[in-house]
Amino acid sequence: MWTWFYKLASPPYVYGVAAALVPWALGGAALALGYGLIAGLAIAPPDYQQGEAFRMIYVHVPSAILSLTVYTVMATASAVALIWRIKVGHAVAAAAAPIGASFTILALVTGSLWGRPMWGTYWAWDPRLTSELILLFLYAGVMSLRSAFEDPSRGDRAAALLATVGVVNVPIVHFSVVWWNSLHQGATIVKLGAPSMPGSMLWPLLSMWLGFMLFFAAVLCIRLQGEVLNRERQATWVREAVKP
């Protein structure tokens, strides 16, 4: 029953799976993002309060959700690598980090552009924005720590520990709008009960979310191939894999 789990610990298997997944994930992402953008920009009706500006939700919310999801993926892979000493976990974490950092920057910038017309300011020291900024610093710390060590395996393990410790920030970001009186809007999708958004606006958003997820999967697989190769350069299976 657990054979699939053991197979995932094998670098050549993971390399092969990643290579096979890329075109499917990219194709699916293109479809989902395509529909989401067209429906979100042109078909969904303007919002009662925010007018056309609400359309920024279609990039801001998926990038923010992804910034947290990717960190969780990175922290989980790191914990698996530390606890069970599965080296592939380090490769996944190293591959995920720059993608997650870029999504965090995207979330902060799109949020800032949305905040200016809605709240009157490009930035506010509000709990959600602040904790998202902290998330960016955590990503930067993990990436810097990994590259600071001459021994890559030691760097992997140190970065893995930091990623695992920093995961406490993820629930803080998510629940900050509940725990504190926040300027930022509360949860509309990821909450108990029915989403508080009409269907014509919701479907493009869900599609964009799916598109971003599939895109992350595709880019992760591309990076993962590179990370696995960098760590397994001396292994025999690599000879076949990199034949020109």
């Binding site: 610093f137 955590l138 930067a140 720590l145 920093g166």
Partner: protein, 226 residues
């Protein structure tokens, strides 16, 4: 002759304190830094006490954070450099006990010292005497939490050249919630409102960190020592 865990702990703490007091200048430097940094704000912004009082919680906490970071670099460094750390790790008491002892001793000479000096700084920033107990309690809880977060960072960066900048980059994001609640507690005490909520949260953060950080710091050291 085998030594019990409590006796070993006491021995280690006493060793750390002994070593620290042998170099009194190293003890005083972070405290002096704390005093100097808090002086910078009235000079740079405004000497008006009423204005300073509004900024005082933030200034106090940022200065405490920065001066704690200065002394954290040395938590494991000197022992790691001359091989004592490996000897301690092998001595059979368990690396976690050693980490707890070292971090506690470090807090005694840095964080606790900061708390004792804080009334001076508080007066300089115009904090009313009535707010001092809350200020000192929040600083005490905060610096203890910070010592533990710093122990994780120090464990991760102990072998690196110029690891102290990276240490700050690692510790500061983790310390931000601390800063928010610590400053909030002091702020409420100054304005006279009930600071209990913020203090409870600080205490919760402290307990959470003090229970989990020792294991993280030990793992960090094991990664570095291997």
């Amino acid at each position: 002759m085998s030594v019990g865990a409590v006796a070993a702990f006491n021995l280690l703490v006493r060793r750390e304190l002994c070593l620290s007091f042998r170099r009194p200048d190293q003890l005083l430097q972070p405290l002096l830094f704390f005093l100097i940094v808090t002086t910078l704000f009235p000079l740079g912004l405004s000497p008006e006490l009423s204005l300073l009082r509004d900024m005082a919680p933030g200034v106090l906490w940022v200065a405490a954070l920065l001066s704690s970071l200065l002394s954290l670099d040395g938590l494991f460094k000197s022992d790691a450099d001359d091989g004592t750390l490996e000897q301690l790790a092998l001595c059979g008491q368990g690396l976690t006990l050693i980490v707890v002892a070292k971090t506690f001793a470090h807090w005694l000479v840095s964080g606790a010292a900061l708390v004792l000096v804080s009334p001076l700084v508080g007066t300089a920033l115009g904090i009313p005497v009535g707010a001092f107990p809350t200020m000192m309690l929040s600083l005490g809880l905060g610096t203890l939490t910070l010592s533990w977060l710093g122990a994780i960072g120090a464990g991760l960066t102990v072998g690196l050249k110029r690891g102290n900048v990276l240490l700050s980059l690692i510790v500061l994001p983790l310390a931000m919630p601390l800063l928010i609640f610590g400053a909030s507690a002091t702020d409420r005490a100054i304005s006279g409102t009930n600071a209990a909520g913020a203090l409870y949260f600080l205490a919760a953060l402290c307990v959470f960190t003090c229970t989990l950080a020792p294991f993280a710091a030990t793992t960090a050291l094991r990664i570095t020592l291997e």
